[in-house]
Symmetry: none
Subunit: 205 residues, 4 copies
DNA sequence: CATGAATGAGGGTTCATTCAT
DNA sequence: AATGAATGAACCCTCATTCAT
């Protein structure tokens, strides 16, 4: 009985572990080749199993990206929510959000790349409607921070906040496509320089 | 005689015109659906002809993107080269290059989107080796401008110019994915605000 | 009036001439590339016109081979018939038929090659039922000559005449695939050696 | 353990068997309809599977003919090489080569037919350069045998050996197009009569 | 859990053919 | 007579997916 229980526990844990392994592999491949251009066989090859075998673990190719993106977004929002809930001032919030973003990139690089490259196309599928929701929520969050910054007199009022928002969104996330964990600059240093650049500009003062 | 000449002129012009028309349509579709995910039939549908008919004008789907990208890049570089050749100071060069970039986006939006989204994958194909060349040349051009800016004491020396370069590259081009010709802000205004943001930052001074 | 007549005569003659020219070109191309593997465009290219233009002269690609083969077969049979009708002895008939065959090859090489390579497949099409008829008539003609040879004591009786027939048929016609008008051996010399070989064998006596 | 071994043996054998089965089917269809004119679907229909399924076993239609022809040629040359290596006299070599050829036809009829009909066109493709090599080697082998025959005084000197070579080549192989395993004459009898015909001629002596 | 074989829809491409000019 | 553009069926091939073992 206890043997059986241990067995099933082991099995369940192993199954979950295998699942995570396969998802990590899939994310890597999707990120580097592009979701649409990646064949299920390529994912399977990278995981050293046969194409059909993936279907024991996942319902479909779509289900794989779905899980990859959901997990990433859930974690990202949990981090953002903590920042928002901590009641910081506009500037501190700004910096914390950007730092959190770069941390996300560090932890979920492949997922972020997929998100960047594919979410526009995936979003047309009802299954991925949460991508649209997330994007909208993201926009509202940032605009609220930026507007607060303008109101508080911290941010320049002569710039379109919509433009600033896009500016930030684009540069932060696109970093996922070139950021390497083993590169010369650690995530925190990149975040620091990035924040300096965005806040103070690149001109000498 | 003159009738014949006009005829052949009309014919030649019509032919080139049709080609350009089809390319414009294809660029639009590739940009919105993604090159790999777009079927030749979708392009044909958008052009109101049958799939096979495209092959009267183009050798292959690949030949279409090739032409779309080559034309855009040729024009872009001709604009950049003029700026470089005009012997402006570092700051003026900086501003002129960015303004030219936004003008390119305005004129070649779909091509720029395709360039952004697909060039990484396309570049693995020898046929598109010019994409790699262009990217390298682009990088060298910007680094040279930025380094000159630092040397001249115009740009901050405490930031990694490689990071600034990527920062600029990403934000400028990614604008193609949201820029609309009929949007509220004209290209020049966007360029102006963008330059202000990058040079002076978004903080109040 | 007379001008008009001369015109229409000229036109009709020219049309027939053009037709023959195009057919000769088509035969050459079909022979060298294979009928099925040859595209209408390839024929047109060889004739220095556009693909669609061929349809002014011929109803279809099929109509072209049809005409090529019919003309050749009609001429061949007219030659054979003369031989048969001339009441020669078995051996003289044998030699005359073979000589006639090599003459045909000389005059209609491309048509003969097409006949050799494609008639089996074409024959499944009712339009080309005459190919089957011709083959059967050919077989009967030769068997009759060979049987007469055996009866007259001229040909060996220990060989299957069916086998001899195939033997002759194959070697004679297949020569079309390697025979060149400008080669070292003229048609008559080839016929002579060929006849010697078949009749007397290749051993020294 | 032994069960597992038997399993894997069975599997491997079954796999090779299936491959061979499919190749045999393909060869049959290619031979009867012509390679170019045969669609992959026709092959699949004949094998009672769907068109796409063939691509699980073979890379392409081309890969199928390639394997069909390579296997046949390899076996043929292994047989020829044995004959050549056995150091027989000119006449015995002659007879042995022809007998071997008819045996090849018996065993590889469809492959031989394909070889006859398609090798000229296939040979333009670098992948099939071995066809050209084989033809050249074949020619050299025969000319060497024939020349030896003339030198030894066994063969007539008044005939062009190049012509004899073509004569033999054509008649032997073309037999594949009419030879039926279940026909009235067994391969050895055909070879015997064929050799008699070629060596001694068809005239009474 | 994984394999091997097959499915079947659909994708890029070719090509005989048509037709207005 | 010939052109140039288009048609549409069919072709080779790919790939997500299924399923018996």
């Amino acid at each position: 009985m206890s043997a059986r229980r241990r067995d099933s526990q082991t099995t369940a844990a192993a199954r979950a572990g295998r699942r995570a392994e396969l998802l990590a592999t899939a994310a890597e491949v999707f990120a580097s080749r592009g979701y649409a251009a990646t064949t299920v066989r390529e994912v399977a090859d990278a995981a050293d199993i046969l194409g059909g075998s993936l279907y024991y673990h996942f319902d479909s190719k779509e289900a794989m990206v779905d899980e990859i993106l959901s997990v990433f977004l859930a974690d990202m929002w949990s981090a953002y929510d903590k920042v928002i809930a901590s009641g910081l001032g506009a500037r501190e919030t700004f910096e914390a959000l950007i730092t959190e973003s770069f941390r996300c990139i560090e932890r979920y690089r492949p997922a972020v790349v997929i998100y960047q490259n594919e979410s526009k196309h995936l979003a047309t599928n009802p299954r991925f409607s949460y991508l649209v929701d997330s994007q909208q929520r993201f926009r509202e969050m940032w605009l609220s921070v930026l507007d607060r910054g303008v109101t508080d007199g911290i941010l320049r009022a002569d710039l379109d906040t919509g433009l600033i928002y896009r500016f930030i969104r684009d540069t932060v996330w696109v970093a996922a496509s070139w950021y390497r964990t083993d590169g010369p600059l650690p995530a925190e240093e990149i975040a620091r320089q990035y924040i300096a650049m965005v806040l103070e500009g690149i001109l000498t003062t």
